[in-house]
């Protein structure tokens, strides 16, 4: 196993090699032990300062990154664009360069524009960790989903994973597809045709419009959230589906679907859950569900990513 990552930034899973993914998992396993100790902290990053730039709403990811950074003993500053100079018209590069002049070593960023982390990487001199850029990628989520599946059913090579729901607006879906494929898993996407990007087959994934068939096929299903905030916002736009009720009639994961599919796959959900829309409470909290383990693993995965990227920082 290589001892360091092939990349200097985590922009997306697309840039990672399969060995990088294994290295991250290797360290995440160790960090998971650390965060289950009575003292959940290691001093590795005590001289590193990290800025968290979140220009989109987030609870889980932001908390998870913050915790991961603190568990590694890094100093952190938080920044959200509401209540900042961004509202006064400051550009992204200016904002980041100003933050960097305060001697920041790493920037964890979430942005509503796809490619914003790539743009910053080109135009600033710091380590960038993508915490979700628009509808593009959410690499740490992709990693932690794979890590959670792997923990339950072992090596992903040859395993079948179905990603269900709003594929079109989901950065989680794309990162998952890349991450799963790089480990040799088969990937299927399932959802209404309006929520499946037209050329997605070119990524080498199967497309299925019938939830029962997808569940029957899969070893694990990742139920994505219906992103109500990214659906048609005015009367002029054509909605992707007639109503939430119709969506859940066809694509809700519930007990009846599992019975019809005669299969009990592992159930993942990146959160936040719209209970009763894409998944029933019964299944979200059921024994097949790893939703809460995903959150725990999220901290370990982010510790691993930050730790490994920080090892490239030289003084």
């Amino acid at each position: 196993m290589n001892n360091s990552l092939s990349v200097k930034h985590l922009l997306g899973i697309k840039q990672l090699t399969p060995e990088d993914i294994q290295l991250i998992f290797h360290h995440a396993e160790k960090f998971k032990k650390v965060i289950n100790q009575p003292i959940k902290k290691v001093p590795s990053l005590r001289d590193i300062t990290i800025a968290n730039l979140f220009s989109e709403n987030s609870t889980r990811t932001k908390l998870s990154f913050e915790l991961a950074e603190k568990r590694l003993s890094a100093d952190i500053v938080n920044f959200s664009s509401s209540g900042s100079s961004v509202k006064k018209g400051e550009t992204l590069i200016d904002t980041v360069n100003n933050i960097l002049s305060m001697k920041i070593d790493m920037v964890v960023m979430r942005h509503s524009s796809p490619g914003a982390p790539h743009f910053l990487k080109e135009n600033t001199n710091t380590v960038i960790v993508n915490a979700g850029d628009g509808t593009h990628e959410h690499p740490t989520q992709g990693l932690l989903d794979s890590f959670s599946i792997r923990e339950k059913i072992g090596d992903l090579k040859g395993k079948k994973v179905a990603i269900v729901g709003d594929i079109k607006h989901s950065r989680v879906a794309l990162s998952n597809i890349f991450c799963l494929q790089k480990q040799g898993a088969e990937v299927m996407v399932c959802g209404p045709a309006t929520l499946i990007p037209r050329h997605i087959k070119e990524l080498g994934v199967q497309v299925e419009y019938d939830l029962v068939k997808a569940v029957e096929w899969a070893d694990a299903v990742n139920m994505l959230r219906i992103q109500i905030e990214r659906q048609a916002s005015s009367d002029k736009e054509v909605p992707n589906f007639p109503s939430l009720r119709e969506y859940s009639n066809l694509y809700q994961l519930n007990k009846e679907v599992l019975i019809k599919a005669k299969n009990k796959p592992l159930i993942l959900h990146p959160g936040p859950i719209n209970r009763g829309v894409e998944i029933t409470t019964e299944l979200a909290d059921g024994e097949q569900s790893v939703v809460l383990q995903q959150v725990e693993n999220g901290v370990a995965i982010r510790m691993a990513v930050i730790y490994l990227l920080a090892s490239h920082i030289k003084r």
Partner: protein, 182 residues
């Protein structure tokens, strides 16, 4: 220069036995003692000593664990090649216990310093004692004093002390390499 054998198989056995008897002398029935090996090589030695102690005194109630110090090193980001993390496996608290910390070779002492930090996560022990198979003298960079020593050797920094274990497919022995041996 030909590598010099510091401990051959026979001497190795003798040393391990002596260390075990020293431990028994100081710890009686080991009721309040735990033995913790430092990853990776200290763990092999700790297991060997644990098994030997059990053989000599089957009634002792000794717990043992493995400690990885990678995240506690003081040279993170200062090395060319980062160290791959290993597994910590300590299923007990060391609060109020006497800890025997085990490593194969004591060189600069920095690993041991890191181990003190790493141990903090498992409680405040009554005492920590250090056991090493080989103590390289005059090379300490931090003040660390082993209580149990298999053998002390005088060596210069460019030399390497290599402990060969049975699990590597080699008989147990300790070799002193000079840098020109590679």
């Amino acid at each position: 220069m030909k590598p010099k054998v510091l401990l051959d198989k026979k001497l190795f056995e003798l040393v391990i036995n002596r260390l075990c008897y020293e431990l028994i002398e100081n710890h009686d029935d080991f009721r309040n003692t735990v033995i913790i090996g430092i990853q990776p090589r200290g763990v092999v030695l700790a297991e060997l000593i644990y098994r030997r102690l059990k053989k000599i005194a089957p009634k002792i109630a000794l717990q043992y664990g493995a400690l990885d110090i990678t995240f506690f090193r003081d040279d993170f980001r200062r090395r060319e090649d980062p160290v791959l993390a290993n597994t910590t496996k300590i299923d007990f608290l060391i609060e109020g216990k006497r800890v025997i910390l085990v490593d194969d070779v004591l060189f600069t002492g920095r690993t041991i310093r890191s181990a003190f930090d790493a141990l903090l996560a498992f409680g405040r022990p009554d005492a920590i004692e250090l056991l090493v198979l080989i103590e390289r003298r005059f090379s300490l960079q931090v003040p660390v004093n082993p209580k149990y020593v298999g053998k002390s050797v005088d060596s210069i920094a460019s030399q390497r002390v290599l402990v060969k274990w049975k699990i590597d497919g080699e008989p147990d022995k300790v070799i002193l390499h000079t840098s020109t041996d590679e």
